[in-house]
């Protein structure tokens, strides 16, 4: 049952994930942790961390959640559900997009999506840094890495490593 639920829900998320996976991160957390209780808040941030530390698109965190819920089958189903509906949309839209290059609607859509994506990614960062009750140490680490990203051109891996060191010291 949980496999079907996982497939349907992630399939729906896939269709609204404008701007990529970070946009639906708050929803994934809400559904998987708050609604279903498949993972604890702490397990969720740990799965996210492992996903960040591996190569590849960050959509792979979906497969880690699936793995927690139902093993390898869960991992494949979760990743497939998160990618397939969006892939079908991409397949159909890529031609249309070229055809409507100069249409005012295409330009309106582009401008409309931007603030929504920004709001969602911001929410994703906040929700991830606040598993359970607010913890100033996690906010400090998150704030530090955000500042590091904006102020320098470091490979993000260094910022993640810095977060790990701070975690060992503070937590």
């Amino acid at each position: 049952v949980s496999l079907v639920e996982l497939a349907l829900y992630f399939g729906l998320l896939s269709l609204i994930s404008v701007g990529g996976l970070p946009s639906v991160m708050p929803e994934m957390q809400r559904f998987v942790v708050d609604v279903k209780g498949w993972l604890t808040p702490s397990e969720f941030i740990q799965a996210f961390a492992v996903g960040q530390a591996a190569p590849g698109p960050n959509v792979l965190i979906a497969s880690l959640i699936g793995w927690k819920v139902a093993g390898l089958a869960g991992a494949l189903v979760a990743l497939g559900a998160m990618c397939f509906p969006a892939a079908v949309v991409a397949w159909w839209v890529s031609d249309l997009w070229d055809r409507f290059k100069d249409s005012p609607w295409r330009q309106a859509v582009q401008r409309a999506i931007a603030p929504i994506v920004v709001g969602m990614i911001l929410s994703g960062g906040f929700v991830l840094a606040t598993p359970g009750s607010p913890d100033w140490r996690l906010w400090l680490i998150a704030g530090g890495s955000a500042a590091g990203m904006l102020a320098t051109h470091l490979n993000p891996l260094w910022l993640l490593a810095g977060g790990g060191v701070l975690g060992a010291v503070l937590l």
């Binding site: 896939s14 609204i16 701007g19 990529g20 996976l21 970070p22 946009s23 639906v24 708050p26 929803e27 809400r30 941030i45 740990q46 492992v50 996903g51 530390a53 591996a54 190569p55 590849g56 880690l64 990743l79 990618c83 969006a86 892939a87 949309v89 397949w91 890529s94 309106a108 859509v109 931007a114 603030p115 929504i116 994506v117 920004v118 709001g119 969602m120 911001l122 929410s123 906040f126 840094a129 680490i141 998150a142 704030g143 890495s145 955000a146 500042a147 590091g148 990203m149 904006l150 993000p156 891996l157 910022l159 993640l160 810095g162 977060g163 790990g164 060191v165 975690g167 060992a168 503070l170």
Partner: protein, 184 residues
């Protein structure tokens, strides 16, 4: 960049697969720079302008940006078979990597220090999201309507914890009206 080699799409499905395989396999710390390096600089499948245009489209589509790029480019070069091959090449190595790492981690996660390190990495990853949001949001900062929309999205999604199945469609509809009235 070697200017002497002309830009040409991959010759066959095997080349397409290995290209995306290498993007996926070494893309630590973000896929986009590796995709650029592989497709534009090393293999010279496409020009810089082409790449920017394609990624621009993929960022507006739902779904993982680079996953969409593998679908769109695979289709452009080889049709349906191309999309499937490119997507599998891209996702294969990282999928194995991430599961192996996670399985390994689960064996040791009772270790309190390791757990603290990983949670610290997670918090830093959350910070990267916040940094990305700031970067993407900067060009919007001069538009009051955009700031209102961003704040409303944040309140609805992060503070009130409404379902995004509701927040995103409603937000997009409002934003589209605002964009048509030239507020965005």
């Amino acid at each position: 960049m070697n200017q002497a080699v002309p830009v040409a799409p991959p010759k066959n499905l095997r080349e397409l697969f290995t290209g995306f395989f290498w993007i996926g396999a070494r893309s630590f710390g973000g896929v986009l720079p590796w995709a650029y390096r592989t497709m534009v600089e090393e293999r010279r499948w496409m020009t810089h302008a082409d790449f920017t245009e394609t990624i621009g489209l993929c960022q507006f589509l739902p779904g993982p940006n680079i996953g969409n790029a593998s679908i769109v480019l695979g289709k452009r070069w080889f049709g349906l078979a191309g999309s499937i091959v490119a997507f599998l090449g891209l996702m294969g190595p990282p999928f194995v990597w991430v599961l192996a790492l996670f399985a390994l981690y689960n064996d040791f996660s009772s270790n309190a220090t390791l757990k603290a390190v990983v949670i610290g990495v997670g918090a830093a990853g959350a910070g990267l999201f916040i940094g990305t949001a700031v970067k993407l949001g900067r060009p919007l900062a001069k538009k009051p309507a955009a700031l209102v929309l961003i704040s409303a999205c944040f309140l609805a999604a992060a503070v009130a914890r409404f379902s995004l199945l509701l927040v995103i469609p409603v937000g997009l509809a409002i934003a589209l009206i605002a964009a048509r009235r030239n507020w965005l």
